[in-house]
């Protein structure tokens, strides 16, 4: 479906939809449902702001507009890795604190850590090393042993 949407609009739109989800949840769950309208307006504003920002000539804009080159993708990947690490540290801190203060509230943090751990293992198996070949043999254009290991 995303291919029908202009690349510059994809991520701003996704961000807006995510924000609208929060607005919908707020409208359903909170007695102060009027605030959901404010959140929805902010969501639309954020989408417009991100779309405008995506037109600039910076690394962040290129990532936002889905037109990043190889270096910019690497920058985005590192930023995601940092965000993931910080989120894990926050979840761990939350788990430790809630275990000490109110054990019944600890499960969301434990679930976050479990999901993150599973995702990490999934990533290792998905993006990990290629097919193992016979050790020490070097075929034309395909090296099976790292020069660093010799």
């Amino acid at each position: 479906m995303m291919t029908f949407i202009r690349p510059r609009l994809r991520k701003p739109l996704l961000g807006g939809i995510a924000f609208l989800g929060i607005a919908a949840a707020w409208a359903i769950g909170s007695p102060a449902w009027g605030l959901a309208i404010v959140i929805a307006v902010v969501a639309v504003g954020q989408t417009v702001a991100w779309y405008t920002w995506a037109g600039a000539d910076t690394d962040e804009s290129a990532l936002l507009a889905s037109r990043a080159d190889e270096r910019q993708k690497q920058v985005g990947l590192r930023a995601r890795a940092l965000a993931g690490t910080v989120a894990l540290a926050a979840a761990y801190t939350g788990l430790v604190i809630t275990l000490a203060v109110k054990m019944a509230d600890a499960w969301p943090f434990a679930a976050l850590l479990a999901v993150a751990g599973f995702a990490y293992l999934l990533g290792l198996s998905s993006y990990g090393s290629g097919e193992p070949g016979p050790e020490g043999e070097v075929t034309a254009g395909h090296q099976t042993r790292s020069p660093a290991s010799s």
């Binding site: 000539d57 910076t58 690394d59 290129a62 990043a68 080159d69 190889e70 270096r71 910019q72």
Partner: protein
């Protein structure tokens, strides 16, 4: 030739050209080949560290 023109010719961003020039980013092998082809050089000529040291 400006950095923007070179970036457009190579299909990368202007910031990436600046990063390669400053030595802050090493291009991937496919991009290195594109750059070498563009300047009509070989990859080893372009990215030979010994030659760079000799030139400075």
């Amino acid at each position: 030739m400006s950095q923007a023109e070179l970036a457009a010719a190579l299909g990368v961003s202007r910031q990436t050209i600046i990063s390669i020039e400053n030595g802050r980013y090493l291009p991937s092998l496919p991009l290195a080949f594109v750059i070498a082809r563009f300047f009509d050089l070989t990859v080893d000529k372009m990215f030979d560290p010994d030659e760079e040291e000799a030139g400075t």
